[in-house]
């Protein structure tokens, strides 16, 4: 991107934000496959609108299209914030259809699934550059957060000056370490939670209201 187009883009982005008024903010839920993004998106949607966004699964790439829930109104301390939640496919740099065969899938299904997954990841990356106002970055706190994909994605999000919250999910698991995530990304706020069990959701909604309201 040239210097001038870059400058023009960032001015128009700033202007968009300034004049956005009470338009719902579009919050993208990003993170690696299986971190619990859909489980979280469903919990937020169920808590505030009554219905879910999409299927959760232990099979990677269950979410292969970005799914959106619009006008989710979150009420906090007498104030309310309205967000559009976008649940995205987990970002990765490789997809091998043979991995799906391990989940008792026919080859045709596995190939179709991997094709949809790659399209979904490409779309999610595109949106991150063009179309979201804030990011919830979900990590499985029982896993090592230092991966190339996490590093790159956080770098991309920072370079776009997007507000970001890091969600350390799956704190119900024995191997969970929130501290490991905090010290890996000390420049960002980390919120511990269990999207599955519903642990610490009060703080989750406080932070969402504070960061994206």
């Amino acid at each position: 991107m040239g210097l001038l187009t870059g400058l023009r883009d960032s001015i128009s982005r700033a202007a968009d934000r300034l004049f956005a008024g009470n338009e719902p903010k579009r919050i993208g839920i990003y993170g690696p496959p299986n971190a619990g993004k859909t489980t979280l998106a469903n919990r937020i949607a169920r808590d505030w609108t009554g219905d879910a966004i999409g299927p959760e699964s232990h099979i990677p790439h269950e979410t292969r299209r970005a799914r959106r829930k619009e006008d989710v109104e979150i009420k906090r301390n007498g104030k309310s914030v309205t967000i559009d939640i976008v649940d995205t496919p987990g970002v990765t740099t490789k997809v091998d259809y043979e991995e799906f065969l391990e989940f008792d899938m026919e080859k045709d299904d596995a190939i179709r699934r991997s094709r949809e997954a790659t399209e979904g990841v490409a779309e999610a990356m595109h949106w991150l550059r063009e179309d979201v106002d804030g990011v919830i970055y979900v990590l499985d706190s029982a896993k090592d957060p230092i991966t190339q994909v996490n590093t790159m994605l956080i770098g991309i999000i920072e370079s776009r000056d997007l507000p970001v919250l890091i969600f350390a999910n799956k704190i119900d698991l024995e191997d969970s370490s929130v501290q490991r995530i905090k010290s890996t990304f000390p420049q960002h706020e980390t919120v511990p939670l269990s999207a599955l069990e519903g642990d610490n959701m009060d703080e989750v909604y406080d932070k969402i209201a504070e960061y994206f309201g």
Binding site: M1, V91, T92, T93, K94, V95, D96, Y97, I111, S114, R115, T118, E119, V121, A122, M125, H126, L128, R129, I146, Q148, T151, M152, G155, I156, E158, S159, R160, S183, T184
Partner: protein
């Protein structure tokens, strides 16, 4: 009876080291093409100065669009920040947060069995075709 000996396929790994100066004159898409063309041929591509975050996100996007079930299944990538004396903590260096360019190693996922990074070393274990 005379043995018919087949000419063996040339085996080996090509490594492309691309200098920062070479990359500097290219557009984002040209850089991504240069990298992915090399990777499609099975090469390991090493960038002296790496890509910008924006270019990295485009690299992921284009990589995804080129994955196909009977050939290419994506890339492995690791980066290293160029270490300037005394700049940044170990963790910042490890996470690639300091300095300008970052040494970047990219290869085809189906040929790189492990791409491992620690404090001072990226090691790639590459299989023959």
């Amino acid at each position: 009876m005379a043995e018919v000996t087949e000419q063996p396929e040339p085996q080996g790994v090509q490594i492309d080291l691309i200098s920062g100066d070479r990359m500097e004159g290219l557009t984002s898409m040209e850089k991504i093409r240069l990298i992915l063309d090399g990777v499609h041929e099975g090469n390991i591509v090493i960038l002296e100065r790496g890509l910008s975050p924006d270019e990295e996100s485009k690299l992921i996007e284009v990589t995804m669009s080129e994955i196909n079930p009977d050939g290419f299944n994506g890339i492995e990538i690791e980066t290293y920040p160029q270490i300037e004396a005394g700049s940044g903590s170990f963790l910042e260096r490890l996470m690639g947060r300091t300095g300008e360019g970052k040494l970047t190693v990219i290869g085809p996922a189906n040929r790189i069995q492990t791409l491992h990074k620690d404090e001072e070393l990226i090691s790639a274990f590459v299989t023959h075709r």
